[in-house]
Subunit: 258 residues, 2 copies
């Protein structure tokens, strides 16, 4: 039987994550923006000032959003439990993520939420946007199609555009796609983090780096695996491979010391 | 003969009219919002304060929009020469106008501009919106689909949503954007095949299988890496990792035979 998913359920699976926000006014404006579009979940990662009087002034009554907002020390905490993270960003070089439009992002986010997944829209700092390390935790980059010679939207305006597209997509929503029976749950942010730690340790153990910068390589590998949207079973296979490579490296070392 | 109209020509036929705006900051934010989306024409009808330092501060560099803005005593003057006027409004009783969505409004505005007509998007006061007499000068009422229990968008956010929809509609007419230059070539089928062979050999070397069927695992890994759509640079990194894991396995074996 095909059933429409309740829009309120869908909205509750979508969170807005603001990273290193400088101006509390923008947090308030963003709270108002998402509230007008039927969303309530806001996560703040190391905001410069929060809670703050100015945030409440600009929220214009969306106090429930501000009061319910989580404040985190690390992006990974703001993404806890998330299966899909979409990072808003101006176009930039060297970021090997698929670039999608806000409309496509809304479609993907909604499809994921309809499958029961948790989704994050991630917004960077007012001036510098999202750093590469932050984008590396995202599965795709969303670019609002601004003009080249004046490309910078105000932060809360970007939040409004994205929330608006999500709202329009929810209102136009087709019946939920049933989950493919054989597809495992996508790995969440914490599981992916453990995998990257294991991968980094293994690269060390097998003496991969040889003087090259480990951070560049790890960033590249993160992007590759984020793009693949690993599920839990795939993650177990990859952990198994890493463990065996480590075992071999351990044996090689042990025996060289015998 | 059918010809594409230059987007810049189309944009110049679309103006944003702000009526009885109370806060100069909202005029500045609106100027920035329309400028990011490729528009420049702003008309102000009896603004409470303009020009104003706060407008310039929030325009964030869109000074040309503010300097070119007309200031008028009556809405009819702001609409001079206009063939189509679309009034943004929350839903209201007693207004006998067709109600359309921002997306439909963008389509209508663009079609009119493409016919050489002049188009206005009209935005009312922050608190009271457009009065009935002002709406009566419009051809349709545009409602941004906010939720019933928190329906009021900030004025400049409403301008941003409308400008964004117009920009997306205009881009939909233009030829597709070329592929980002910084993306490496996707690996071809033969390159992927060599990678899978290398991966299979490495799994053997590090004694990964331990009696499990290698074909099932390889199939799973193929799916995962196909999904990621590896480029050539990423493939080189992965080959490098596999080579080092093989080297460790070789050393471990060699030394166990010493």
């Amino acid at each position: 039987m095909s059933r429409m998913t309740d829009p309120i359920d869908l909205a509750s699976r979508i969170r807005y994550v603001m990273v290193r926000t400088s101006h509390p006014g923008n947090i308030g404006s963003a709270a108002r923006a998402i509230r007008t579009m039927g969303f309530r979940r806001l996560e703040l990662v190391t905001p410069a000032r929060f809670p703050d009087r100015e945030a409440y002034a600009l929220a214009a009554g969306a106090d429930d959003v501000l009061e319910g907002a989580g404040v985190h020390a690390e992006l990974v905490d703001g993404l806890l439990g998330c299966n899909l993270a979409l990072g808003l960003s101006a176009r930039r070089r060297g970021v090997n993520l698929p670039e999608i439009s806000p409309r496509e992002a809304a479609a993907q986010a909604l499809a994921a939420a309809a499958r029961g997944e948790q989704v994050a829209l991630v917004f960077g700092n007012e001036r510098s946007g999202l750093e590469n390390g932050e984008l590396a935790r995202c599965h795709a980059m969303v670019r609002i199609p601004s003009v080249d010679d004046f490309s910078s939207l105000n932060l809360s305006q970007a939040v409004q555009v994205m929330a608006y597209e999500l709202r329009v997509a929810m209102l136009g929503q087709a019946p939920a796609v049933p989950v493919a029976a054989n597809r495992e749950l996508p790995a969440d942010a914490a599981q992916m983090e453990r995998f990257y730690e294991h991968l980094a340790q293994t690269l060390d153990d097998i003496e991969f780096h040889k003087g090259r910068a480990p951070t560049t390589i790890m960033l590249r590998l993160r992007k590759l695996f984020q793009r693949a949207q690993l599920d839990e079973r795939e993650l177990r296979v990859l952990h198994g491979i890493l463990a065996d490579a480590q075992r071999m490296a351990g044996l090689a070392k042990e025996r060289s010391q015998e």
